[in-house]
Every structure is written in structure tokens, then in C-alpha cells.
């Protein structure tokens, strides 16, 4: 069963709404015990990096999650800060990340951006899928997603980057390594395109 992790951050209800409308069963897990039935994991996140990591660490689910993702290799998708938490570390905080994907989280540097942009990167932007990843099935170059962030995921292994987005620079807006996925944008708030992506995730 698709299991949405509720550690006190992120819009759990928005994911639930999408899956209810698609008639795809899911549960919401608040404790390690409730993770037992998980076959796929949605890992939302909003807020600052350290705050999100502390919340997760204090949720009592951290160890079980590590086991399910790293040993049992269940498909997992991190959303927004949830994606950033997959990295080893972030410019935004001092706590270590989950280190599930080899990368670090960087702040957009106004000095190196090629065009005059504002931070945070806020609003509807397009993604450029750069391989045939099953998460991005039926999502073309002009698919639109809602973004809301000032930091971005920098992959150490370029093969892990499965989509990029242009905002002053071309940066990684979706990652995948083995069973682990992440998207910087909010599929749960991105109308038909987000619904397609969440449908794809359910089929992995």
C-alpha cells in the first residue's frame, strides 16, 4: 500500500486527495508501526532543512524508514524539502541529511544566475525530462509544475538527475537512484501534470 509519511510537515491531505480521486488506495503513517503495510512511500516536506530533519528524527520513524528504503528497497519519493532531505547535507542547515542519494543541497547564488531572478523560485515552471524514467512517463517538455524553494539538489552523479528546470541556471528538479526518487516541485499542487506524476509513482 502507498504510505504517506506524516511527521508533522507537508501537505498530507493534498496527496490523499489526489489518490482518493484516482481510486488508488493509500494510508497515512504517523508511527513506525503504521509503516508495516508500506509497499511505496511518499515523503513530503516543507519548511527549513534542519527543522524538517529534526521533525523526522523525532517522529520515531527514521530507523524503520532507513530499513524499508535501503534494505527492502521500497520505492520512495521525496517532495520539495523531502527531496532535499535525500541529500547528504544542505547549505540551509547544519544537520546531516538522509544521504540516500549522493548529492548536496545548494542555495541559488544570485551572483551566478544568468538572468535577473527573484528568490525564492516561486510559481509555475516547466521541467525537461532527460531520460525515459518511469516516474516521468507521459510528461513532456512543456509539463508545468508548481515550485516554491530557494535551495536546489546538486547530484554528484549526473545519472541521478532525471529532469532539469531553468531558473537562472539549469538545475536538477527531479532525481532517481535505484528505488529512491525526489522532485523539487509540488506534484500534489500541480493540477493534471502532478496527478500524472503521482499516478506514475503508484505504478512503479
Amino acid at each position: 500500500m502507498i504510505t504517506i509519511i506524516d511527521y508533522g510537515l507537508g501537505n498530507i491531505r493534498a496527496f490523499a486527495n489526489v489518490y482518493e480521486r484516482l481510486n488508488i488506495p493509500f494510508i497515512v503513517a504517523k508511527t513506525a508501526d503504521e509503516l508495516k503495510a508500506a509497499t511505496k512511500i511518499i515523503f513530503p516536506g516543507v519548511g527549513s532543512f534542519d527543522h524538517a530533519i529534526s521533525k523526522l528524527n523525532n517522529s520515531g520513524m527514521r530507523e524503520t524508514l532507513d530499513k524499508l528504503v535501503l534494505n527492502h528497497q521500497l520505492p520512495v519519493i521525496g517532495i520539495c524539502v523531502g527531496m532535499q532531505m535525500l541529500a547528504k547535507s544542505s547549505d540551509e542547515g547544519i544537520l546531516p541529511g538522509l544521504a540516500w542519494i549522493d548529492g548536496t543541497v545548494k542555495k541559488f547564488d544570485a551572483a551566478v544566475l544568468k538572468s535577473k531572478t527573484q528568490l525564492p523560485h516561486m510559481g509555475w515552471n516547466t521541467i525537461h525530462p532527460n531520460n525515459d524514467n518511469p516516474l516521468l512517463l507521459n510528461l513532456s517538455n512543456d509539463s508545468r509544475f508548481y515550485f516554491l524553494h530557494s535551495y536546489y539538489f546538486k547530484c554528484n552523479n549526473q545519472n541521478d538527475s532525471i529532469a532539469t528546470t531553468e531558473y537562472g541556471i539549469q538545475y536538477t528538479s527531479a532525481v532517481n537512484s535505484k528505488n529512491i526518487y525526489g522532485v523539487q516541485f509540488h506534484p500534489e499542487k500541480s493540477h493534471q501534470w502532478g496527478i500524472q506524476l503521482l499516478k506514475n509513482f503508484a505504478k512503479l
Binding site: 493534498a14 527549513s48 527543522h51 525564492p120 516561486m122 510559481g123 509555475w124 531553468e166
Partner: protein, 260 residues
């Protein structure tokens, strides 16, 4: 490419939706959840909901309404009204709201912006400034409590201050233009845009889709918010929730880009 945002702004009073003119004469226009359902179908870019009573009545935000709205919204939601503490910001975010707006709290204690940003991240902290012209020329003041209290602060100074304290977005809300539907105050937007580098959303004055086009033409990537335009239809201001189709919005944005 990042696109400008076109944002309906809904005002909540006594649990119902209202629309004001110059922040007065609230007219009942319907049920908030019903409006959200219609806006879902129209695939709106984003939604702003402001509770216009909470601060004036010095009461807590209505968490039940917020929770119901967040559950219904298929698009990003910004909530404002009566938010005074970091605990309130955190609680509202935990209900599934993407952004929390503060106004009078940020005026009386700008440090709250920094404190909130530390917990929920700058991207989720919005400051709304209600702005009114002071007599002649291009002088403006920031007002609070539903345009009943002048702060004596200029919007430029205030915007710079909240940017320094870590706000993620500034909503410029023109008291003079509210509900008037004769166009945005582009001079006001320009002075703010030139003084900060945060994303800006402009509210107050949009009467037609052309007013939105003019705003985007002048400022490129910007939030174009409107109340009356998206809840009224025709010269008799009949209540009808509306929003331009995706094809219309694309055509508008492409046209502005070609002209630009």
C-alpha cells in the same frame, strides 16, 4: 520558463466570502469551499485567502476553515488574517497551507518574520502590506487593521525591512484601488519592485484581463492577484466565480512576451 502567476484573492468574513470596495462595504459573495471547488476546476495558478476580521477582532485564525480550505485546494494556498505568533504560523503550515501571510504583526514586530522563516522556511512566509496614498504625489503609507490604523511607515522602507528579516514574498495591496476595478497602481509597484528582489504579488484594482496584461508587460515575472475580477461578472457586479482558461492565459502571456 517561469511564468507570471494569476491569483484569485478571496476575503473571508464571519465564515462567508465577501468582496469589499476600498476595504469597506463587504458584499457577501458565497461560500469559500464552494469557490475553491470552482477554482480547482479552472486550474488556477494559486489562491490567496484573507480573513479580514481576525486581526480587527483580535482573535485566533479560524483553524477549522483553514483546514477545510487546505484540504480542498488543488493549487497552492496562501492564508492570511490574525497571524501574530510563530506557533500560529507553524500550526497553519501543518494544516496543509503552503504560505502564511502576516501584516500587522510584521509591522509591530518585524522579527517575527525571521522567527517564522527559521521554522517554516522563507518561501512560506509572506508579508501583505496594505498601502494607501497620503495626499498628493507618490507618497504612500502602510496601514493595518483593515485600513483603520496608519503605521507612518513608507511601503518601500517596510518592504526592505521584511526582506532583510527573511520574508519570501511581498503582497502589495492597494487600499485606494481595492474593488475599484480601474487598473493596478503601477507607480506603486515600480517603486517597490526597484527596492527589493523578492517575488511580488500585486492586489487591488484589476478590472479586466487587460489590467493583468499591463502588469505583466511592465514587470515580467510577477503575481497578479484580483478579487472582484474573479468573483463578479458584468457592470451590475453579478456574483459569478470566473477565471481565464489556460488557453487564454497562455495567449495573454505569449502576447506580452512578444511585445516585451
Amino acid at each position: 520558463m517561469l511564468r507570471p502567476r494569476i491569483i484569485p484573492c478571496l476575503l473571508v468574513k464571519d465564515g462567508g466570502l465577501v468582496k469589499t470596495v476600498n476595504f469597506t462595504n463587504p458584499k457577501y459573495v458565497g461560500d469559500p469551499i464552494n469557490a475553491v471547488k470552482i477554482f480547482n476546476e479552472k486550474e488556477v495558478d494559486e489562491l490567496i485567502v484573507l480573513d479580514i476580521d481576525a486581526t480587527v477582532q483580535n482573535r485566533e485564525p479560524d483553524y477549522v476553515i483553514i483546514k477545510n480550505l487546505a484540504a480542498e485546494c488543488r493549487m497552492p494556498l496562501c492564508y492570511g488574517g490574525g497571524v501574530k505568533t510563530v506557533e500560529q504560523v507553524e500550526r497553519i503550515i501543518s494544516l496543509g497551507v503552503e504560505k502564511v501571510a502576516m501584516s500587522s504583526a510584521a509591522v509591530s514586530n518585524p522579527r517575527i518574520v525571521a522567527q517564522a522563516a527559521e521554522i517554516v522556511g522563507s518561501q512560506s512566509v509572506v508579508v501583505v502590506m496594505d498601502v494607501k496614498k497620503t495626499g498628493r504625489g507618490c507618497n504612500y503609507d502602510v496601514w493595518t487593521h483593515n485600513a483603520s490604523k496608519p503605521t507612518g511607515q513608507s511601503p518601500v522602507d517596510f518592504a526592505k525591512r521584511v526582506e532583510n528579516f527573511g520574508a519570501g514574498e511581498v503582497v502589495i495591496n492597494s487600499i485606494d484601488r481595492d474593488g475599484v476595478m480601474k487598473g493596478y497602481d503601477l507607480d506603486l509597484v515600480k517603486v517597490i519592485r526597484d527596492s527589493i528582489s523578492l517575488p511580488i504579488t500585486v492586489l487591488g484594482g484589476a478590472g479586466t484581463i487587460k489590467d493583468i496584461a499591463a502588469l505583466i508587460h511592465n514587470f515580467g515575472i510577477i503575481g497578479a492577484a484580483a478579487g472582484s475580477l474573479f468573483v463578479f461578472k458584468g457592470i451590475y457586479r453579478a456574483v459569478l466565480i470566473n477565471y481565464p482558461s489556460r488557453a487564454k492565459r497562455d495567449a495573454l502571456i505569449n502576447q506580452v512576451r512578444q511585445d516585451g
